[in-house]
Structures are given as structure tokens and as C-alpha cells.
Amino acid sequence: MSANGQPGRIITFYSYKGGTGRTMLLANVAWILASRGRRVLVVDWDLEAPGLHRYLHPFLLDKELISTEGVIDLVTEYVLEAMSPPKADAETEWFTSLSDVSRYALSLDYKFDLGGSLDLLPAGRQGSAYASRVNAFGWQDFYGRMGGGAFIDEMKSSMRSEYDYVLVDSRTGVSDTSGICTVQLPDILVVCFTLNTQSIEGAAAVAESVRAQRDVAIFPIPTRVEFAEKQKLDYAREYARQRFAPFIGHMERGERESYWGGVEVIYQPFYAYEEILASFADTPGQPTSLLASVERITSRLTDGQVAYLEPPAPEERLKVLREYIRNPDENIEEERIADLRAQLAELERRREALTAEVERARTQPRRVGAAPAPIQGELEGLAGALDGAVPAKSLDRNLLLATWNLRAFGDLAETWRAGRRDKVKRDLRALAIIAEIVSRFDVVAIQEAKGNLRALRHLVRSLGDSWSFITTDVVRGAAGNDERLAFVFDMRRVRPAGLASELAFPDYELGMGTESAFRFLARPPYALSFQTGDDTFILVALHLLWGSVSSDRLPELRSFARWMSDWATEIASGGQSLIMLGDFNIDRLGDDAFNVFTETGLHPPPELNEVPRSIFAGKPGGFYDQMAWFDSPTGTPLLTLRYTGRAGGFDFVPFVFLELDRQQLSWRVSDHLPLWCEFRVAGPNLSP
């Protein structure tokens, strides 16, 4: 059974003509799936012209497959057994073990970080007799006389029970084996075609023929798209879109546009000369690369569940690339090798530069004047505590998101020690403490920032040049409490990605009025999108205000949660993540308001359940601050970022302002503790 207990999905890759890049696409999709922790089987069912193994040779012990059996051997075994006299001492049904693909599947010699695996079921043992074995196999008799159809069904269940995804490389044209691959095997059919009439017509006719026999989801994919002849290209695109329109008719108009724009595979001459995986040859995060095309297609095929490659570590990438290049059978131009090497050197150079920069920023004194010695000592103690409590920022590996309600974060006393007479208690010492804590994260959502931006500006300045902030305007009126929501973020690691919006809700969504009226909540949620590496995510900061008795506002809360849930689903299907963070104003775990959220699939990570939120130890409840995201109805997170399972708070009380009581401390640093979650990201953001 696949990882989540569901039977795996079988996806067949078909093209009417050869040379469409079908096998290359399949191999790359498979690698991305495995890199994201999925168990994947690839099957080379192009028996007349097997070649899938060429993309995987660095990871195969028997590179030419002369010692390794596959599909043709598996079905031949069945036929030979069917045509032999029954054995007297047979203990089980004679065909039981014959359909077990695990006897034939080869595992690649490669360790995927997230626990995925990639197995290959080859076409069959290569060698002089291979072709005659394939030619002599009578598929018609196999089906007509020997129950071959049922045997293939048995094979299907064997594959589905062992893997999350099974990708089948089909024969081209309308041969016997292409019929099996496209009609009988798949749950999803990917139809690849180049933009010429023959290829489009053939692929569309076959897709129609499959659809007439079985209700299979069909994804048409234009491949080898070239931009040289713009007018012809536009014409061919339009023709293909019309021809395949019936297969994506279930999509909304806007989605159809984004479908066609997203799944095109652009012709990259580099890949025409060698069988090499884009996961190793391409640098992640370049939208026009082959890798980016494949990622978009993978996202389509998995309903947004897998949208990005978990890239190999640079040293691993270099090692594998050498394996690809070293193979003496590969005829790679010297120029290409030089290209690859230059690309890798560049990757290494940027990585080193970025790492050095992060390190320098961490160790150099901040721009605010140096703190007096005792405060310096206090800050060092705090830094040590943070080192132990919060995972280190690792440039191309993780992303640390935090939320912190900073009590009345507005004005600042620009002195190292605010005295009794100072009206403003938050001083430079407090700010240095806050800065030390904030510097450990990549994005911090700050609640209770006030109309006065002095402390916030000072904070960002003291964090260094690479930090920035974005904030809402102040919400006026009693309910608004002169507050704003702010995001403070480290631009070396993330950058704003376009969306910044206060969320307004139609009244009817909140169950209170007509379609035409819109309503802002008293303190509207603030959504901001960020990019890191090639992951885009939207953070929604909240400081909700539901009235004094939370049960009064439950219907409103429920509508709000549903609305957010729908939005999260939509965002996930576009390959992005939505994470909510801030003050949910929920009294405690399991209360009505909390349940309203969890019913829609919103879940905080369990690691945060026991984490205290408040510096006041005895304070009951204290479940206000939260970080959460939605799960799909099947229980998988609607995230493309991957939560690492590490989350927590940070209790600064034992390390700072030891001379003050907690009440006093709360006005200087805060009454709330920061909360954080760690995610894995797809890779280094290499834009210079």
C-alpha cells in the first residue's frame, strides 16, 4: 500500500510519434516525485525501443541491463507456465507469484533525502535475443487464449500496492502494447505531442479512442516547443488547444489558459544530445528551464501535491553529473561539458558567497551603537540560548517562520536604560534583545505594532541592510486599537512575491447580508506573498477580534474559516502554500472556536500544542498565538513547503532583564513569547 494507505496511481506517458521527449519527461517527473518522498516505479513498456534506463544509468549496477529481466520476461514467464502441464505438487495458484512486480523491479542506487525511492521495471533482459523475444510474443493470443487481460490486471494491483506512483513509458502509434498502456493500465494518461499536424492529429485521435473505451483523466502536453517561428507557433498552439479542448473541458476558462501556459515543454538543445536528468543538469528556480516545466507538469499530475524538486545537495549534484559525463558511451560535446562545469562552478560560487554573507551578518556588530558591556554579556547569553532552542538558518535548506505579538510596539526611548521617569519603557536594550531574537528567523509576523513606527524602524535598521518590513496602515477606531500588522523579513532568504492585501469578505460569506456588501473585519487579516528559492508562499497574519464571548461569533468564525480553506485549496492547486499565523484569539485547545477551525482542515502543528504563549506562567488558556495550515480532506497538508516537524516557542524570560518583574518585562520586550516553525525549501535562490 502506498505511503498514505491509498493505492498508488498509474500514469502512462504516450506519444503518437517518437522523438517528442516523452521518456525524458517521464524520467524527470519520476525523479521529482521521488525527491519529495514518494515511492515511485517507472516501467519501460516501450518494448520495441526501450530506453528509459539510459536516463538512470548512473544509478544502475547493471547499466546495460544485460543481466536484468523486465516486462517481456514477466509476461513470457506467465505464458510458459500457462503452456506447461500443471504440477502435481502445486501449493498455490500457479499464477500467484508470477504477477509480483517486486521480483523484477530494480531500485536505483541513490538515497533520497526525504525517504522517497525510485524503482525501474525494465523492458526486458537486453542482448542478442531480446528483439526476437519481443517479436515472437503474441499479444493477441496472450489476451485471447491465455487470460492475459486478467494477468495484466493482477500486475496492476501488484504495482499499485507497492508504490505511490507508477509511471509507464508507452509504445508509440497504435500497436498492441500501446493499447494496453493507454487503455488498460492508467488512471491518468499524459499525451505528449510536438506542434506539427501529424503529431497533434495522431495524439488527439488516440486520446479520443482511449476516452471512448475508458474514463481516464487525460493531460495533453506540447513538447519541444521552439520560438523561432512566432507566427507558425501561435497558429500551431491554437490548433492544438482546439483539438485537445474536449479533454480539459472540465477546467474553468482561466484555468485552461494557465494550464496551456504552464505545461509546455520548451525545446532545449542541450537535452537533445544526451540522456541526462534535468534535476541534475538544471539549476533550480529558473522559470524557463526544462526542470521548471517538469515541475509545473508534476504539480498538475499530482493535484498540486508535488510541485517542486527537492534538489540534491550541490556536492551530490556534482558527483552525479560527473557520472553522467564520464560514461564513455555517451557522446557529449566538449562544449556541453564545459557548460555544465561552468554552471556548477557558478552554483558553488554563489552558494559560498551567500553563506559567507550570512555568517558575516551574524557576527558583525549591528549598526546601533555598541551596547554597554553588561548588556553585551546579556545579549551573548541570549544568543547562546537561542542557538540551543531554534534551528540554525541553513541557506538552501530551511525556512524559519515566526509570529510574535510585541506588546504595544510603537515608541522607543533612545537610551540604553529607560528610567522610572521615562514614559516610554522600551529602550535600546529591549530593542537589541528583540532584534537578537528576530534575527534567528526569516520572516516574523508582528502583531500589536502601533501607529508610531519608531521601534519598528529602529528594529529593522539594527538588523542590518538585508532586512526590510511591510506593514498595514493603522486600523482606526476602538476595535482597531491603533494597531497594525507587520512583517519583518530577511531579504537574503525571502523576498516579497507580489501579493499584499488586507482581506475583505463578502457579507454573504460571513452569513450576514447580501452579495453586494463587503466587510472588513475589525482588524482585517493581512496576506503577503513571499518567494524563497523556487517556493512561493502566502502568509496571512491575523490579530482576530471576535468579541468578548467567543461563542457569540462562532457562525462568523466558521464562515471565515471556510472561506480561508477554499482559498488555501486554490492556492495549493497553483503550487503555492498558504500559512496562517498570528493571534487567533482562541482561548484554549479544543474549545468551540478552535474546533470551528479544525473542522475545515486547519491544523496547527502538534509540536506547538504544549508550547506556552505567555510570559505569565500561571495565566490560563493562552492559546492565542498560533501558526497553522490547512489539510486536504484526505489529510495531506495543502503545502508545497515541507514542514520539517520542528516548531516551538522561545522563552526569553530566564535570560533578560533579570532585575525586573514580569509585568515590567512585558512592556520592554513583550508579554507574548515568539512561536516558530521550520520548513524545508526547494533550493537556493540563485537570482543574483
Binding site: L61, L80, S107, D119, A136, Y143, G149, D153, S209
Partner: protein, 431 residues
């Protein structure tokens, strides 16, 4: 220095999974070294012939020395293994060294057997072919773990050298090797026994034929009919029968049959050896079909049971009376499972010189087949590799014909899909 191997790895080099053997050997040897706390190199722990025999070593000598100084013998059981005469000899030689056949007595428990059979292929594939000599060991395969017992060691290795099922199996196997190897100790008396060349193949049905390299028929209990089996008839007369027919008889064995060297004088490969290797490449169980009076009845039975039959013919032999009769009867019939291959030795001057005359004879004997241009007859001339390919392709073609016209002998699965799914392209559907 006398070597002291913990195990000798006996395997068939024609095995389909040959590429995985070194991997297997190294992994087990490393684990044995670890468990036995040895500071030895892998090649000091295990003997695998290709590794350990250096160029120029006397082959059987080095082999017998290694067998004499190995504590245990691991046999990688596969169809190819059972059919390899060399493996059968290694097995017999090791067995003859004693201890494992010592009769149990009241006071002394029976020592653990030194021979450990490993399922290289899954048991259900090879069970019917397993020679009595290996069955008699009664080794409990399930003690090495269920995944191994049901799939065999090679399939576990397919899943990677670090896959947990393989490692569990390997660790347990190493334990057995170490425990038996420690119990039995190093071979104390590596005395010179008879050489390997005088040992009989333990897997051959007795009595073994002369000379030593006879292609094996496997154990007596093996399955002898069915689509997995290929029967070979060697139509080659004995030297005495050929006297007066052919002047120069080099390359012809005294007894006739499989030992004929059809590439003489360039190459001393025998007809039987090439046939055996081709059968293994086709993963067929090799059997000999004797040219007895019930030849035709045997062909009929073979056809009924989808058994492949290849009749290899020396054209000179067709000029002798007795063979001529059998084959004339064959000429009168068309079997879907049987093909005659006439093997021409172009390297032989006399054959080349009298080719036209010999061709007349073949066309008389098989006139019906030649007339109909039937698929039941082929002529061959070329190298040993080409003969191998011809026989292999012949077996494949016959299997293809049987698939269309032979009987289905097992009860097949009821099928929702009794015809193959048909696709239509722009020009309509395939036929």
C-alpha cells in the same frame, strides 16, 4: 601459506543475474568478516572463481585448492546452476571432502552441513529442476527470512545493496556461515584428492556419460515436458558408422551425438555445449531427445505438451542408414514445436568440397520441408556465437508458434478483457 576461506561461492556464469554475483559475494564476505571479527580482506574470506584465479593459473588446480581450503560452500541455485556441469563437479568435489555426510551417532551429534544452498532465483521457478543432491541437504530456506524465501536473493539485491530485506537476509546468512565455519574449523588436512576432472557431476543423472563435459540433463526428478523445456536431438553418427562415408573424421566423437565439434579445426566447441548455452539463454530446461525407435512418438508427446524440440543434424550423418530412416519419418510430418537445423562445417575441407553432393542428400531426406519452404527446417553455417544465436532464435520462434497454436494446459484466469485494447489513430484502428 595455506588459504582458509570461510566460503566458496559456487555459481553459474551463464546465469541471467550474473552481474549481481560480485555484489552479493562482497556483501556477504564483508559481513562474515565483521561477525567473525576478522581483519581480513574480502578476497581472503570468500572464493569466487573469476576474482581469485589469476591469469595463467591452472584452472582446475586453483579451483580444487580453493575447494579444499574453504569451510563452507554456498551454491547460488538457479536453472543455469543446475545445468552447469562445472557447478555439479564443484558440488560433488566439495561433498566428497567429507564431514557433512558423517553418520550421526548416539554420542556425537551430526555436524552441521558444510553446504548451504541459496535460492538465487525464487523457489517456485527452480523447484521442479532442483537435483536430488541439493534437495537432500534439507536446508531450511525460511530461516533466512520470508522476503528471501519467497523472492530469492537476486530479487532482493535488485532493490539495492542497502535495502533492509537484503541486509536482514545477508546478516542471517553470515551468521550461519560463521557458526558452521567456526564449528567445523579450517580444513585440517588439505590432502591431494583426485582432481576435479575425475569427479562426476553431482547434478547429472547417473551414470554420467563420457567424457566429462557432457551437457547435463539435470536431476532425475526434474520436469521433462512443457513450454519451459527444450529437447535437443543430436543427429551425429559415431566414427564407426561414418567409416566409408567420410574420409577425414577429426572432430567426430567415437560415440557420435552431442560431442561433435562442428567448427573443427578452428574451434573445439562441441555441438552439445553450444546447444546448452543457447538453451540457458532462452531460460529453457535442457533435455536430450534420444534417437530411438519411438522418436516420432516422443515428438508427438512433446508437441502435445508444448515442449520445444530442436533437431541438430550433421549432413554427413544423413548418408548413414539408421538416422536416415528416423528423419524420413520426420519429413512426413509437420510439428509446430520442432525444427531441424542442418549444421554445415564450412571449415572442413571435405565438407566444402562435397557440399553440392551433401545438399542433394539433405534435400532428399527433407524434401517435403524444402518443397514447402517450411519453418520446420533451417540450414546453418558460421561461428559458434552465430550457432548460439540461431538456436536461441529457433527456440524463441517455436515458443511464438506454440503461443498461437499450442494448447493452453493450465486453467487461466477469467478475464474481463478477453481481447487486447485497440487504439484508433487518425487513419483508423490497428488490425
Amino acid at each position: 601459506m595455506v588459504s582458509d576461506y570461510w566460503f566458496f561461492l559456487s555459481y553459474a556464469r551463464l546465469d541471467a543475474g550474473e552481474r549481481y554475483v560480485p555484489e552479493f559475494c562482497e556483501s556477504v564476505a564483508a559481513e562474515v568478516a565483521r561477525q567473525a571479527a576478522l581483519r581480513s580482506q574480502v578476497e581472503e574470506v570468500a572464493f569466487r572463481d573469476l576474482d581469485n584465479i589469476e591469469l595463467g593459473d591452472e584452472w582446475p588446480e586453483a579451483l580444487t585448492d580453493a575447494l579444499r581450503t574453504s569451510r563452507t560452500l554456498l551454491c547460488l541455485c538457479s536453472t543455469a546452476y543446475f545445468q552447469s556441469p562445472m557447478c555439479g563437479k564443484e558440488f560433488a568435489f566439495f561433498r566428497s571432502l567429507g564431514t557433512h555426510t558423517a553418520a550421526p551417532s548416539e554420542t556425537q551429534p551430526r555436524p552441521a552441513p558444510r553446504i548451504i544452498p541459496i535460492l538465487w532465483d525464487p523457489l517456485d521457478r527452480i523447484k521442479s529442476q532442483m537435483p536430488e543432491a541439493i534437495r537432500a541437504l534439507q536446508f531450511s530456506q525460511s530461516s533466512l527470512g520470508e522476503p528471501y524465501a519467497s523472492k530469492g536473493a537476486r530479487a532482493l539485491l535488485y532493490r539495492g545493496r542497502t535495502n533492509p530485506d537484503f541486509l536482514a537476509f545477508r546478516d542471517r546468512l553470515a551468521e550461519i556461515i560463521v557458526s558452521r565455519g567456526s564449528e567445523l574449523g579450517p580444513r585440517s588436512d588439505p590432502t591431494r584428492l583426485q582432481g576435479l576432472e575425475h569427479i562426476e557431476n553431482a547434478f547429472a543423472p547417473s551414470p554420467a556419460r563420457e567424457p566429462g563435459t557432457a551437457p547435463s540433463d539435470g536431476g532425475g526428478s526434474a520436469q521433462t515436458l512443457g513450454a519451459r523445456t527444450a529437447k535437443f536431438a543430436y543427429v551425429v553418427a559415431s566414427r564407426s558408422e561414418l567409416v566409408g562415408v567420410k574420409d577425414v573424421l577429426h572432430g567426430y566423437p567415437a560415440e557420435g551425438g552431442w560431442a561433435w565439434e562442428p567448427f573443427h579445426p578452428d574451434d573445439d566447441s562441441t555441438l552439445g555445449l553450444v546447444a546448452q548455452q543457447a538453451a540457458l539463454s532462452a531460460k529453457a530446461y535442457l533435455r536430450e531427445l534420444p534417437l530411438t525407435d519411438d522418436f516420432i512418438a516422443q515428438l508427438e508427446e512433446a508437441e502435445r505438451t508444448n515442449t520445444v524440440v530442436v533437431v541438430l543434424v550433421d549432413p554427413w550423418t544423413l548418408r548413414t542408414a539408421v538416422f536416415n530412416d528416423h528423419l524420413r519419418t520426420f519429413n512426413g510430418r509437420l510439428f509446430i514445436n520442432s525444427v531441424v537445423v542442418i549444421v554445415w562445417n564450412d571449415r572442413d575441407d571435405e565438407t566444402a568440397r562435397r557440399r553440392a553432393e551433401l545438399e542433394d542428400v539433405t534435400r532428399q531426406v527433407f524434401d517435403r520441408h524444402f518443397l514447402m519452404n517450411s519453418a520446420g527446417i533451417k540450414e546453418f553455417s558460421g561461428s559458434p556465437d552465430e550457432l548460439h544465436a540461431t538456436i536461441l532464435n529457433t527456440i524463441t520462434e517455436i515458443r511464438g508458434r506454440l503461443m498461437t497454436r499450442g494448447g493452453v494446459l493450465q486453467t487461466v484466469l477469467p478475464s474481463r478483457q478477453s481481447t487486447i485494447p485497440v487504439l484508433s489513430g487518425p487513419g483508423g484502428s490497428n488490425p
